[in-house]
Point group: C2
Chain length 407, copies 2
């Protein structure tokens, strides 16, 4: 109990870092120029960077057929290691084993890494989707991503050459597991709860976060800075909201903030588990799982992600879940509460639908301070105002166009 | 993780229950009448009942010299078992080993149990006090209790015959570990946090309790119904306050309430540890340790009890601490908060000294709802009003007496 050592990375005593630096990197880059090129999707690029910085410890590359199949059907790699979501790379044709490839970002054309092919295989995409997302409905953004993959999965170990634009564009937020671990160690923390964020923090998230702080040494607010589905609040606005909230309502020494480069898969329970796996790699002992974690639409029950943790076999995952119920302001309680702590009827509680919130934000309606801190609302209202300006500019242009047609 | 089994009792796979029932009890009672009698102090009676109901599992009787010494100096019984406070019985003369005794309650003259003496020994009381209470100041109520013990400690295994007046006088509250465990099992709980109470619950305690509920399956509000120092709120008033609070502000299915028959020792950190030991026996996986746990006066630092948990050796105690910082209402936060979660200056926080609270309660001053729930304040004000009446009756009687003298 007196021990101050951080939790080990997943399935390993140390981080498996595949990112090359210095001379090694320079030489590999030179070689990469001579290799056949393979374009990465945005999701694949994020996954590759995570392998580079040790966020996906102990993975050494994109998954083989056996790993893929075990992960889909029973969340186990071939060697028995717990892993909840396939980390795969697709291409439109098979590639001979032994071939070395240069992996290129489809977004930026940057050389992201090299790969030594061990296997090419075809998959039943619907099998993957039904297992991982519990649905093969193309309306599900994660399913769509898988169904649009190319025909062949290419497996093999990788060397990583770049972290892409993340360190620059998300300066001060983007963080490697070695960095978060160093900060936690310097603070003498042992129990750290990770808060996954892909939305601005309102008071319900603040409440989750503060419960976590009350019961652990510190909080790691870990934001997704990869891609989201259209309509979600962009990362820079969100980072701004969260900085403002922490600045005004948290004890700064109890909070560490970081960002990670993955795209959302919206895989609900399975993604909730993946969040535990890589938070462990970032040094966190606990993963906060709230209501509808990593969900989208109505594909998952509000506490499916919590259930997925309860159903894990012993020893699957060292990072423990910190489950928190649905939270809200209750006027009778005179404070934040949850379904586990508040005995009062619905009428006493403050609920605001996403639609009502967006309407109030874009049209300037009132949002109670019990729902969101005024400082955060200011940031969001500014963002919605710029959106509105864009829409107005577009509409104005369009109207002019129409008028021209009418001429 | 999916396992639903409750935590094992301390140092044992099952509760060590020394309370006899039915025929066994009837026969032992008959024998007891023939045995030499030994009077128990109130503290010793409470300890004996705890051994009877399995609350002090795995103890089998009052401690031997080696156990006493190990517990005092390193919190270890002779066999290595962790135990933080001596459980001893004193008498004014030595008793031959092998003697059987009838243990009689000094308060009620009831036959409480029998004991087979294994050893009589004298102790350095100051050594015990300095180790257990960190002081030998006679102003400390726990020290006073030890210093006033008789000259010989009598060790030996016990059989327990009665739970005294507790089951009757604290009907619905007094509870055996087998009963709390049964309730927890029926509820399917696995993680249960124990809240130690010897005072009415104000909002700061409610906040501790609710944090515990948020992060576990349920809360065990476990009240001391043994003796306190003069001036503390009596158990029946306190039980009333807590019932009222739970009734109005908690989800009843998340809370189990129980009472235990010990006297307060005010041993701060050591008593905080004992609280963990016997809560484990009652089936709790976690023990809430807040500010100044089990303290009195200025003998202990506000977080000494938490530190005592951090300093335990691995495997000493299975029941884990749930440490909570100093809590209060913060007007800037607009909610309950603690030193770990609130960044605002003192001026924004609501603090009420015990003196100010007692003054407002007895003189009818205003106490903000952010400090205590109005329903709880009503119960307390009623109690203080009866106190005042008693004082007035006394004063009136005294005045009359004076007047008579003057005649």
């Amino acid at each position: 109990m007196a021990e101050s050592k951080l939790i080990n990375p997943h399935g390993s005593e140390s981080l498996k870092i595949l990112l090359l630096e210095g001379n090694e990197k320079a030489e590999e880059l030179k070689k990469a120029e001579t290799l056949p090129k393979l374009n990465l999707s945005s999701r694949e690029t994020g996954d590759l960077i995570m392998m580079g910085i040790g966020g996906f410890t102990p993975l050494e590359g994109f998954m083989s057929h056996d790993d893929w199949k075990g992960v889909c059907s029973e969340m186990k790699m071939k060697d028995g290691l717990f892993w909840p979501i396939p980390i795969t790379l697709s291409h439109n044709e098979k590639i001979n084993p032994g071939t070395e490839l240069c992996l290129v970002s489809g977004d930026t054309n940057e050389f992201m890494g090299t790969m030594k092919v061990s296997e090419s295989y075809q998959i039943d995409k619907k099998f993957e989707c039904k297992n991982v997302f519990t649905t093969d409905d193309m309306e599900h953004p994660g399913v769509k991503m898988v169904m649009e993959q190319k025909d062949w999965n290419i497996a093999g170990t990788v060397k990583v050459l770049s972290e892409s634009y993340f360190p620059e564009e998300f300066k001060g937020i983007y963080q490697r597991p070695s960095e978060s671990r160093k900060i936690f160690e310097e603070k003498g923390w042992r129990t750290i709860a990770a808060l996954q964020l892909r939305n601005p923090m309102h008071r319900s998230h603040e409440y989750l976060a503060k419960i976590a702080i009350e019961v652990s040494d510190g909080l790691y607010i870990h934001q997704l800075v990869g891609k989201l589905k259209p309509g979600d609040i962009p990362a820079d606005v969100r980072v701004n909201c969260i900085n403002t909230l922490v600045e005004n309502y948290f004890l700064k020494e109890k909070v560490v903030m970081g960002g990670y480069p993955l795209d959302m898969r919206y895989a609900g329970p399975r993604e909730g588990l993946l969040h535990g796996v890589f938070r462990q790699n970032f040094g966190c002992s606990h993963m906060i799982i709230g209501r509808d974690h990593a969900g989208v639409g109505d594909y998952y029950g509000p506490f499916d992600a919590q259930d997925s943790y309860y159903k894990l076999w012993d020893g699957a995952l060292e990072c423990q879940m910190l489950p928190i119920d649905w939270t809200f302001w209750c006027y009778k309680c005179g404070g934040m509460a949850s379904m586990k702590t508040c005995p009062h009827p619905k009428e006493d509680r403050l609920f605001l639908s996403g639609t009502a919130l967006r309407k109030a934000l874009s049209e300037g309606g009132d949002i109670p301070a019990e729902f969101s801190r005024p400082e955060v609302l200011t940031v969001l209202k500014d963002y919605y105002a710029t959106l509105k300006e864009k829409v107005e500019v577009k509409m104005h242009g369009h109207a002019t166009g129409d008028a021209e047609v009418k001429k």
